[in-house]
């Protein structure tokens, strides 16, 4: 049995897919979700083979939902109008359907899905996300984190600093620390350079959190943050820091 999930915030849009899916008895629609939060829960619970995913949804987008998954099911994006997204789909999704789409167009997407097989894709998620954001010129405004089955949305304005932690990035906020399956290089590229600066191979600091720079042993400098935490500055980080602080 092939399991499918529909994630779309508009009930009528879900109905369209549901009615088209009725012609595929081998596929069972296990759940319909109205947003990414429900979507994450449903995907973790059912481990579906196929997900119909809308992009613009409440709180987190379809892309942000993908960032939170450990294994990727086959994805068919359904969207009304997203120029930037189209390019991304071609490389990464089974197909994308532009709303409103015809039954023939839907069948074509399903043919593609059935031909590629129903194995879950174990694609490297950070890479996928990186590709998606490379095509989306806007800067990151928020970071979406998975806490078990729950989703935490962190505004970038609440971040004090980021540190590298093996394959993860640790996000330090006043509320606590959160792990994100992502690279520091990704954040360096996507965070507003007027707000954040990479001072070290393993650290990106929010500029307004800096209180002072102190020397530490010989030739070594450290940053003191508002919270009192100390961050090392590397030789390549110091000129960047000087440039953003204008010193």
């Amino acid at each position: 049995m092939i399991k499918a999930i529909i994630i779309d915030d508009e009930p009528l849009a879900r109905d369209v897919i549901k009615s088209y899916l009725a012609d595929y008895p081998a596929i069972s629609l296990v759940e319909e979700c109205a947003n990414g939060f429900e979507g994450l829960k449903a995907i973790n619970q059912h481990q579906p083979n196929l997900v119909f995913l809308d992009i613009q949804m409440p709180k987190i987008t379809g892309f942000e939902l993908l960032e939170l998954l450990d294994t990727l099911p086959s994805i068919i994006f359904t969207t009304a109008f997203d120029e930037f997204a189209l390019k991304a789909f071609e490389a990464n999704a089974i197909d994308y359907l532009l709303k409103p789409f015809s039954e023939e167009r839907f069948q074509k997407a399903m043919d593609k899905f059935l031909a590629t097989g129903t194995d879950t894709h174990t694609q490297k998620i950070p890479q996928l996300v990186e590709q998606l954001s490379a095509q989306n010129p806007s800067q990151t405004e928020r970071v979406v984190i998975k806490l078990g089955n729950k989703i935490k949305v962190i505004s970038i304005y609440d971040i004090a600093y980021l540190s590298a932690d093996d394959d993860y990035v640790k996000i330090h906020t006043a509320e606590g620390e959160f792990l994100k399956n992502q690279t520091l290089a990704f954040f360096e590229k996507n965070l507003n350079p007027q707000l954040f600066v990479r001072v070290h191979r393993s650290f990106i600091v929010k500029i307004d959190q800096i209180t002072k720079i102190e020397s530490y042993e010989k030739d070594n400098l450290i940053l003191i943050l508002k919270s009192g935490e100390k961050i090392p500055i590397s030789k390549t980080g110091y000129p960047k820091l000087k440039a953003v602080l204008g010193i």
Binding site: P11, K59, A80, F81, P100, V153, S155
Partner: protein
């Protein structure tokens, strides 16, 4: 190129003078000074033409200017030669003889320089005018396109069509109703005139939009409209409220998972029509830097253009509620 030409002139002059049995020192000094003066005159004419480009009969001035320059050049030559004690004594007549020739040569050369530079400047000017024209045209086109896109709101339009496509099978009557609402809404949106409308009409148009959105989002979207009767007949620019309501829906619905209530109220507070539009928002995820949105900025800009005031749009965040308040001045 120019300097090469001058060098050729100088050497030609030098040999000509030698042929006339003038000693080589004098010939050399003469050719150098004459041609240096010529270069200076040319520089003057080219430069002056870069600041002043004659039109029509004013070309006469250029000819006069060329003649004056040539005469001035010759006079400078005369002074220089006197100073250097060239062509004195028995040779003095040689210089006097050569004055008409020198003058004609100067005039010809300066004149041709003037013509060349006028042509060149004209060409450059035409080029830059064309470039500017192309840029302006492109800008206008981009702006028109942007405003058209904004009016049509592709995201809203395609999602509405998708809803209709969904309803056609399950609820054909509702589908037909939605087609009519969407058509009426688009017709109103694409209307061109900018004449003031009254609140009653504006609300009717807004209602079309809200009903379409309610159809799309089902029971997640609730609206509450409270309007004082006396406010209904008041005037406002058409489509002024639309972007603010769109904003309220966008931020209300995309910032919350639960059902959302958009509130619109209007009243008459002499001499203003006051309209308030509010939506719930989540302070933890929508930050002040971003939440203002395009709708608010363009509304503020429009009010500024229409009434030349920037205090007519006011926004406020309180108790997880975002409110935009508009004051529209009434003339009577």
């Amino acid at each position: 190129m120019f300097l090469f030409l001058i060098a050729v002139f100088a050497s030609t002059q030098y040999y000509t003078l030698i042929i006339f049995h003038i000693d080589s020192k004098t010939a050399f000094q003469d050719s150098v000074i004459s041609n240096a003066t010529l270069v200076a005159c040319c520089w003057l004419i080219v430069n002056s033409l870069s600041f002043y480009r004659p039109k029509g009969y004013r070309y006469l001035f250029v000819i006069i200017w060329c003649k004056a320059l040539a005469a001035l050049g010759i006079y400078i030559l005369y002074l220089a030669f006197q100073h250097l004690q060239l062509y004195v004594g028995a040779n003095a007549y040689l210089f006097e003889l050569s004055v008409p020739v020198r003058f004609m040569f100067f005039l010809l050369f300066i004149g041709s320089m003037a013509v060349t530079s006028v042509l060149w400047y004209h060409q450059e000017e035409a080029k830059s005018i064309n470039l500017r024209k192309a840029e302006t045209e492109k800008l206008t086109k981009d702006m028109e396109l942007a405003s058209l896109r904004e009016k049509l709101q592709p995201h809203f339009l395609f999602n509405s069509l998708n809803s209709i496509s969904s309803l056609i099978l399950s609820q054909p009557t509702a589908a037909r109703k939605m087609v009519h609402q969407l058509s009426d809404f688009l017709r109103g949106t694409l209307r061109k005139d900018d004449a003031l409308t009254d609140l009653k009409q504006e609300l009717a148009h807004l209602n079309l939009y809200l009903e379409i959105e309610r159809m799309r989002f089902g029971n997640r979207l609730n609206t509450e409209i409270k309007v004082d009767d006396e406010a209904l007949a008041l005037n406002l620019p058409p489509m002024l409220l639309q972007p603010l309501v769109e904003n309220a829906i966008k931020f209300g619905l995309y910032d919350n998972l639960e059902a959302v209530k958009i509130q619109i109220s209007a009243s008459y507070k002499v001499p203003y029509l006051v309209v308030a539009i509010s939506n719930p928002f989540d302070a933890s995820t929508s930050h002040g830097n971003k939440g203002t949105g395009f709708g608010l900025a363009s509304t503020a800009r429009r009010l500024q253009l229409l009434y030349n005031r920037n205090d007519l749009l006011h926004t406020e965040r309180q108790n997880q509620q975002f409110t935009a308040t508009l004051k529209i001045p009434q003339n009577d």
